[in-house]
Amino acid sequence: MIERAKQGNAEAFEALYNLHKRRVYSLCLRMTANTAAAEDLTQEAFLQLFRKIGTFRGESAFSTWLHRMAVNVVLMQLRKKGLPVVPLEENIETEEESPRKELGGDDPRLAGSIDRMQLQRSIESLPPGYRMIFLLHDVEGYEHNEIAEMVGCSIGNSKSQLHKARMKLREILKTSRAEKATKP
């Protein structure tokens, strides 16, 4: 299919698009929380891919190559807006972004009480850098070495950012649950 697309076959392009559109769109949508922006970014990611398809040599999986483009497109968009992307240094984060340490806390477990809509809303409120890593690893299923290559960070940084993202989500979910519990 890729070879046919390289030769300019329209059906091959469309088949590749249909095969991968959901994952790319899903990533863009969760990063932007805006359907129009997500569709624009999806279009841009696929256009960049198809323009460069002649250079694909099969060094990595095609889907990884595509998602790297999608990630780049999203990151460029974030940079244009002046939003922070994945920090290359682990310690560069604001007080507000950094999840609180909750050692010895007395809260009941979240397990079994997280619903999908709640988690989606919580992901939207994550800082963009954490959000990207969480989406790529826990939602899309990429390994840390692939993520590191996509976003241009070290494997250790990817693991650290993922942990912080999950900790932050835990904090958001618990706060949200506590607020609901106090409402009449």
Binding site: E14, Q43, R109, G112, Q120, I123, D138, R166, L169, R170
Partner: protein
Amino acid sequence: MTCEEFERVLPELGSNHSIEQEEHLKSCSACSDLVSDLNAISKQGRLLRASEEPSPWVWNSIEVALRQEGLIREQPGILRVHPARLSWKLRWLVPAAAAGLIFFGVLLHERGGIPAHEAKQESPVGVVTADLQAEGMPREDMQLLNSVAARTPSMRDAYEQNLRAVNAYIHDAEQSAHNDPNDEVAQQYLRNAYEQKAMVYEMALDRSLQ
């Protein structure tokens, strides 16, 4: 192992824990709850994977761009037809092709490339034809044609044909969009139609500034 030490290695922990880490988890409910929560969040995240789809117009826009850039090259002898979209594609191509012909014609005229014996009859300047009025051509279109006729009479008929084609395209696209306001494809084709008309005006007005 203390809780601080355990949380320090937590980012690196996979599914296999060391004996020391296992012992700590058994004895510390806080860290055990923490691990359980983080695993639940991760597991729930998987369920969010790729559940939405972009609208159909995304692919349409990509395809248009790929064709314009020459990245889609139809194989000889193969006619690729989407029956549901055939009439749309033909209609879209008509004003685009006509606009291209106008542009080419303008270039030729500019360079004096049109032989005198092939020059078209000049249309009367400032005359709004009864035919065009009867067909319901918008007044601004007729004014544009008069303007073109005043400057480059030989191009007037070509612009008139192109305006007729693009107006018909807009009419069809508006009807479809009106029949189903949620039809994204119809909305995109309506946008395309307006863009085509804008292109015709732009070419005509560009000429007037020269």
